[in-house]
C-alpha cells in the first residue's frame, strides 16, 4: 500500500490541564484590552486618518470629562448593573431570560404610574411604594414564562422574548394615556415642578452634588445578590440546577419550584431597574426606556460569569465605551457606526480572551517534529 504524504496540523488547541492562577487569567484579559485598543487605533487611522491618541482622549473626555458627564456615565452604568444583577440568577440556572427589556418596561410603567397617581404621598413613602410596585410588576412578568416552563416545559427563550413585545405595546398604551402636553406623543418629564418620586441626590453640595441614590440602591442589590448566590441555600440550588437538572433532582431539589422562584426574582430586579431608570434618571417613560439595555446586560452578566461584584467593572466598561463612542462621533463628525465598530472590536477581544484563559495553543513548526 502506498504511504501518502500528509502534513502535520499547523496549530493545535488543548484544554488547559489545570486552572490558571487568577492573576494570570486577569493578565490575559488586560492584554486583550490593550490589544483591542491598538487594533481599534489602527482602524481609526485607516478609516479616518485621525490621530488615535487624540481619539482615545476624546473618548475619555466624553465619558468622564466633566462632573456632569461622569454622573451620567455612573447613572447609566448603575441601571445596566441592576439589570445584569437581575439576569444573573436566571442565567446561572440556564434559564435564558432574554425578557429583561419587557421586565424593565413594566417596572418603569409601575413606577411612572405611582408618580402620576400617588404624587401626594410623602416622598419616602412614595419612593417605597414605587420600589415595591416595580418589583412586583417585573416579578409578574417573569412569573408567567417560569410557570409555563415548569408546568409544560415551554421554551423560555421564545416566551420571555415575546413578553417583551407585550410590554412594549403596554408602554405605548400608557404613553398615549399619560400624554403630556396633549399631542406631543410623549409623556414628558413627570412631576417636573415638585419632583415627587424623583430619587434625591446623595449630596446637597460640592463636586459630587449630581450623584443620586441610584448608586446606593443598586450597589446594595448587587451585594445582596452576591450573598444570595454564593452563601444561601437557594443560591446553591441555582448553581446545581444550572450544572445538571438531573443532579438537582438527585439531590432532592424541587427543580420546578426553583425555576419559578428564581425567574420571579430575576424579573423583579429587572423591574427595579425600570424604577431606577425612571425615578433616578429620565423621569419619564417611553418605549425606549429600556433601550436595548436588557440585551446589553446579558453581555455584562456573561462577561462577569454571573459574579455580581465583577459585573460592576463590566457595566462601567460598557457604558464608558458607549459614551466615549458617542463623543468621538460628534467631535470628529464620524458616523455612529465607526464608534460602534470600536466598541465591537473591544468586546471581541475581551470575549475572545476567555478562549486563551481556558485553552493553550501549540504551533507546529519544524521544531515540533523531533
Amino acid at each position: 500500500m502506498s504511504t501518502p504524504e500528509h502534513s502535520a496540523p499547523l496549530l493545535r488547541m488543548a484544554k488547559r490541564g489545570e486552572m490558571l492562577p487568577a492573576w494570570k487569567a486577569w493578565g490575559i484579559r488586560v492584554i486583550a484590552l490593550l490589544l483591542s485598543l491598538v487594533v481599534s487605533g489602527i482602524v481609526i487611522v485607516m478609516v479616518s486618518g485621525l490621530n488615535p491618541a487624540a481619539v482615545f482622549a476624546t473618548m475619555f473626555d466624553g465619558a468622564v470629562g466633566t462632573s456632569k458627564r461622569a454622573w451620567v456615565t455612573v447613572r447609566d452604568a448603575m441601571t445596566l448593573l441592576c439589570i445584569a444583577v437581575g439576569l444573573a440568577p436566571a442565567f446561572k440556572m440556564r434559564f435564558w431570560n432574554i425578557g429583561a427589556e419587557g421586565q424593565i418596561l413594566v417596572g418603569a410603567i409601575a413606577s411612572a404610574a405611582c408618580m402620576i397617581y400617588l404624587k401626594n404621598l410623602p416622598t419616602p413613602v412614595l419612593l417605597l411604594v414605587m420600589i415595591c410596585a416595580s418589583l412586583i410588576a417585573g416579578g409578574v412578568w417573569g412569573f408567567f414564562p417560569g410557570l409555563f416552563k415548569a408546568r409544560w416545559n415551554t421554551n423560555e427563550t421564545l416566551f420571555t422574548l415575546m413578553m417583551n413585545y407585550i410590554a412594549i405595546q403596554l408602554t405605548s398604551y400608557f404613553v398615549a394615556l399619560w400624554e403630556n402636553p396633549y399631542g406631543s406623543n410623549s409623556v414628558g418629564v413627570i412631576n417636573s415642578q415638585n419632583k415627587q418620586g424623583w430619587l434625591p441626590n446623595l449630596f446637597s453640595s460640592g463636586f459630587n452634588k449630581d450623584f443620586g441614590w441610584n448608586v446606593i440602591i443598586v450597589l446594595t442589590v448587587t451585594v445582596l445578590m452576591y450573598l444570595y448566590m454564593n452563601k444561601s441555600k437557594h443560591g446553591y440550588e441555582i448553581a446545581v440546577i444550572g450544572d445538571s437538572e438531573n443532579t438537582a433532582r438527585y439531590a432532592g431539589i424541587r427543580v420546578n419550584r426553583a425555576y419559578v422562584r428564581t425567574i420571579i426574582l430575576s424579573g423583579a430586579i429587572c423591574g427595579l431597574a425600570g424604577f431606577v431608570a425612571v425615578s433616578g434618571a429620565s423621569h419619564t417613560i417611553s418605549t425606549s426606556t429600556a433601550g436595548g439595555r436588557g440585551f446589553t446586560a446579558i453581555i455584562v452578566a456573561w462577561l462577569a460569569q454571573f459574579n455580581s461584584v465583577v459585573m460592576v467593572i463590566f457595566s462601567f466598561l460598557l457604558v464608558f465605551l458607549q459614551k466615549g463612542a458617542q463623543a468621538i462621533a460628534s467631535a470628529y463628525n464620524l458616523s455612529q457606526e465607526v464608534s460602534e465598530m470600536i466598541t465591537g472590536i473591544i468586546l471581541f477581544f475581551l470575549l475572545g480572551s476567555e478562549f486563551f484563559v481556558n485553552y493553550t495553543v501549540h504551533f507546529n513548526g519544524r521544531r515540533g517534529q523531533r
Binding site: 446553591y236 446545581v240 443532579t247 433532582r249 432532592g252 493553550t360 523531533r370
Partner: protein, 511 residues
Amino acid sequence: MAVPCAIKMENITKRFGKVVANDHINMELHKGEILSLLGENGSGKTTLMNQLSGIYFPDEGQIYVHGKPVTIGSPKDAFDCGIGMIHQHFKLVDVFTATENIVLGLEGEGKFDLKAAGAKIKEICDRYGFDIKPDQKIYDMSVSQKQTVEIVKVLYRGADILILDEPTAVLTPQETDKLFDIMRAMKKDGKSLIIITHKLHEVLDVSDRVAVLRKGEYIGDVMTKDANQQSLTDMMVGHSVTLNIDRPEPRNPTPRLELRNLTVYDELGVKRLDNVSFTAMGGEILGVAGVAGSGQKELLESIAGLYPVRSGEIIYHNPVSGKSENLVGKDPLDIKKAGVGMSFVPEDRLGMGLVGTMGMTGNMMLRSWRKGKGPFVDRKNPEELANHIWKELEVVTPSTSFPVRRMSGGNVQKVLVGREIAQEPSVLMSAYAVRGLDINTSYAIYNLLTEQKMKGVAVIYVGEDLDVLLELCDRLVVLCGGQVSGVVDARKITKEEVGLLMTQHRKEEAV
C-alpha cells in the same frame, strides 16, 4: 530482509497540560497478529491509539506504517494509511441503514452508487461471517450488531490494521466469543489487529502478544502463551497484588427493600421495566447482572424516586422502627423525609451524581445542603468531609475546590462513592461502581461495599464484569430486556449460566 512491522511507533509522547499521557512509547504491531494493549484505566491506552487513528496528534515521536514514516493529522489520513479504529462509543446515525452509515463521509465524483456499495458490504460480510443486513436501520440493531457495522465500516474503507477500543464492554459472554471468532478470521486474512482491554481472560483468550502500559509508560510485551492472569496483573499494577475478594456469609439477612411487579415506561412510551419483583436483604450484596441497557438504570432510578413508575410497589422495611412503607410516588426529598437512608451511585456520574463545575466541597453539599435552619448553607462540615475523603481514598486533586469535572474518571468516582458511603445508608445502590478505577482502588471499593454489607446495609450492586459479580455478590438478579430472567445464588451459578439468562429473552424472540 525481515517483513516490516504493520505499525511501528517510535518515542511517541503526548501531554495534556502537565499530565504526560504517553511518555516516549516505542511499540510495534507485527503483520497478521492480534496484539492486546493492556493497562489500567488512565494508563494511556486509548490516547496512544487515538494518535494512530488521527484524533490526537503526537507532541513528539514518529509513526511508521509498513516501514514508511507517516504523519497522521486527521482520521482521513489514518484511513489513507489503512488504519481503522472501532471506538468504544459507536459513531453511527440511528435513522440511517447499515449501508448508509458505512459509506457516510466517503468522497467521490458524481452520483453515489448505493447498490454497488451494498454489494461490496455483502461481500465483506460473507467473507468474515458477519450477520448484519445492509438495509437494516441502526435503531433496529442490537449493540453487537452496531459494533459489527463499525467493523464493516473500517473494512469497507480498506483498512488492514484494525484497532478495537474495549469492544467487549457492551457484549454478553456469548457475543464476545463470536467477536473473537471474527477477529481470528480477520487475522487469518492477513489483517493486523490491536485490541484494547483490561479484562485479563480476554487477553489470554484472543491475542498472540500482550503489550502493557502503566501510567503512560510502556512496560514491555510478552507472548500470550507465556503469560497468565497473575503475571499480567503484576505487570499492569507494577507490584504483586492478590486478586481475591473476601466474601463473608451474610449475617442475619432481613428483607429491606421489596419490589413488587414494578413496571416503568420511558418518555417515548417504551416499556423499560416489565413486572420486576425481587427483594433486597439488609446484610447482603445483591448483584444486578445484564447486558448494558437491560433496565439497570431505570431500576435504580425508580427506587431512588427519579423515574416515574407506571405500576407496582417498592416497599421499604425500616430496620429501626419496623414499619413498612411504599416508596412509589415519592421524590428523593420525600424519601429522605420518610427516614429512608438511601445512597445512590448513579451510572452517569457528572450528569446525575455530581456537579461538574463545583469542587469536592460543593459536591459534598449535595447531600447536606438542606441541613440547618436559616437561609444560608453550611460549608464547614462538607469541607471536613471533603478533606476526609481526599485523604482516605487518595483522591488526586489540587484542592477541595478544584472542579470535579476536570479530575480524571477514577478520582471523580472516588469522590462520589466516598460521599455516598459517608451518608451511613441503610440501602446502598451503585451502578458500575468501579468503572474507570484501577485495580487497587477497585478492590478497595469491593471491600468498602462488603464492609457496608456486614454493617447490615442492603447493598445493590449493578455490575458489568461477570467474574466480579460472581465473586462479590451473595445473590444475583439477572435482567434481560427489562424483565427479571432469574434470581440466583451467586455462590453456586456459573458464568455461562448467567450469560444464558442475560440473553434468554432475546433467544425467545428469535424463535
